[in-house]
């Protein structure tokens, strides 16, 4: 039964106490890191948004208002937990957990540190055992994230439906349609990364990005990253894609009827997902815990052991994305729903598909020893023809819609 357990190299061979303790320690560390990161993220977002709006933001609880989230959390815990009369009690109670658990699960496959230099491939030695600084390294790797984000839809969808109220239902229908649509673009831009790094495992993807030239954001040619970033923002239901909880239209969205700890679980899941997605983007496109390196010159942080240095780099890189998310929230207006769907289906998915084919052609050309310029030229030509066909299809369908008297 080793096959089930050996997602972690520590657990190969006989089960001993030390490996078991290491795994339990890792689970604890990942769980606590997740919770603390979420807490700090809530504070960070409020503070940065306040700064951008020329306000002060939370500044009473703790130094710089750092403990504000904790205070809010305690308040939410002690509030009355209401279940509406028309709600479906079982589904209503289970939905927050369906949103919360996936948020933590996808955090478990992200390499949180470790030494990727030379031939180390992220291995560190703890208590005399070789292991990775990541909870699990399954062979399906990034597909696991896709599976988990597919499951995360259930929490929001069922929460809205089981509330037995109109606005939450509208919010959840919007949410699930949006998340299912953008998951396609997310998966297709992920495929480009897998194509370039030739492996699915997250530690393998990180190990392949030793210097800036090898970073997947460069190796895949930026476009998959941009698509991934946009699709991830939509998947997280963050602004400008937060139609799920558009206050002006839907009261509060899918979580209108929720209160107390169940509400806080949704809130926690949302911020947790933001942290996870940022870390995932760093892992996939920006070398994860690898230090920034130009060719052979490595920006090494002195005095820190290489294993811990990885965690510092991951944190720094993730912070950039977290800041970007807050920045987007503070500056961009919300999409209209039809714009959102048009953008996802008519721009992101064809673009990611086209770019994926371009990369695949390049790979094939390299393997077969074809002339790079000819391959690129031919594939660009094919893409242009496809684009023109697509435009033609759009214009025809628009004309027909106008003839039918439809508004959009």
């Amino acid at each position: 039964m080793i096959s089930l357990l050996a997602i972690d190299p520590v657990l190969k061979g006989d089960l001993l106490w030390t490996p078991l303790l290491i795994v339990i320690l890792k689970v604890l560390v990942v769980f606590v890191t997740g919770l603390v990161a979420t807490m700090l993220m809530v504070w960070f977002e409020r503070k940065v948004v306040a700064g951008m709006g020329n306000r002060i933001g939370p500044n009473k609880a703790g130094p710089f208002g750092l403990l504000q989230t904790l205070a809010d959390g305690i308040k939410l815990f002690f509030k009355e937990d209401l279940v509406p009369d028309r709600a479906d009690p079982f589904v209503f109670k289970i939905a927050p957990f369906l949103a919360f658990v996936p948020a933590f699960l996808s955090f478990s496959i992200i390499p949180l540190g470790g030494d990727f230099r030379g031939d180390n491939a992220g291995m560190v030695t703890w208590f005399g055992h070789e292991t990775r600084v990541q909870l699990a390294d399954p062979s399906i790797g990034v597909l696991f994230t896709l599976a988990i984000s597919a499951i995360a839809v259930y929490g929001i969808m069922l929460a809205g439906w089981s509330s037995g109220s109109k606005y939450p239902l509208l919010g959840s229908v919007r949410a699930s349609a949006q998340m299912v649509s953008y998951e396609a673009a997310l998966g297709l831009s992920l495929a480009a990364v897998i194509l370039v790094s030739k492996t699915l495992s997250t530690s393998g993807i990180v190990a392949a990005q030793s210097s800036i030239g090898n970073w997947n954001v460069v190796a895949t040619g930026v476009v998959p990253f941009i698509i991934f970033f946009i699709a991830a923002t939509a998947e997280l239901n963050r602004p400008p894609f937060d139609l799920v909880e558009a206050e002006q239209e839907l009261v509060g969205g899918f979580n209108t009827e929720y209160s107390s700890i169940r509400f806080s679980l949704f809130y926690l899941a949302e911020f947790m997902n933001t942290v996870t997605m940022s870390a995932l983007m760093v892992t996939l496109f920006f070398g994860g815990p690898q230090p920034i390196a130009f060719g052979n010159t490595v920006l090494d942080i002195p005095l820190l052991p290489n294993g811990i240095e990885g965690s510092v780099w991951l944190l720094l890189k993730t912070l950039v994305f977290l800041y970007t998310y807050v920045w987007l929230r503070a500056t961009l207006p919300r999409f209209r729903y039809d714009q959102l769907m048009d953008f996802g289906w008519k721009i992101l998915i064809p673009a990611s598909l086209g770019w994926f084919m371009l990369l695949a052609a390049q790979r094939l050309g390299k393997n077969e020893g074809w002339n790079t310029i000819v391959v690129t030229g031919a594939s660009v030509l094919v893409l242009i023809i496809c684009y023109l066909l697509l435009q033609r299809a759009f214009s025809v369908s628009n004309k027909q819609r106008e003839a039918e008297g439809s508004m959009f």
Binding site: V91, S139, A150, V153
Partner: protein
Amino acid sequence: MELFVFTCASVMVLVGALGVIFRKHPVHAALSLVLTLFGIAVLFVAQSAEFLAAVQVIVYAGAIVILFLFVIMLLGVDKAEDLKIEPIASQRWIAGLAGLGMVGLLTAAVVSGSDVLRERGLGIASSVAGENADANIQQLANSIFSDYVFAFEVTSVLLVVAVVGTVLLARRRTGKGIA
């Protein structure tokens, strides 16, 4: 350990399957279906078919059942159906007969193929036993895109035809305006 995992997953699958049939509420039935699909994914992992497990969760649990729920919610059939009304006469005993036939066929297939299954079980590269962690996926890709490429392409054409057909049916115009 293997027996334990198998038992747990099988219980999940069976409870889910029974739930699909016996829950009165369509949404509860759909959720039971998710339980079944998850159980099957666990069984796949126990057989070192991690890729299949991931695809099972992404496609079936993540897309198809979501679509079911979507339709249930949008069409507002989220109330218990009256089981006494039968839209198609005598559909019950036909369904029962077909179900029995399926059970018979499956049992016959398993019984007659048990020797072959045991032999082939050793031929599939386990992603853990081998040095290459991606062996499982590479093997799958090799058989899909070389040995069975024709079947694969025909399936994709079938899917495209289905999509086009659905759009055509949904957008058929009757007289003026959108039907």
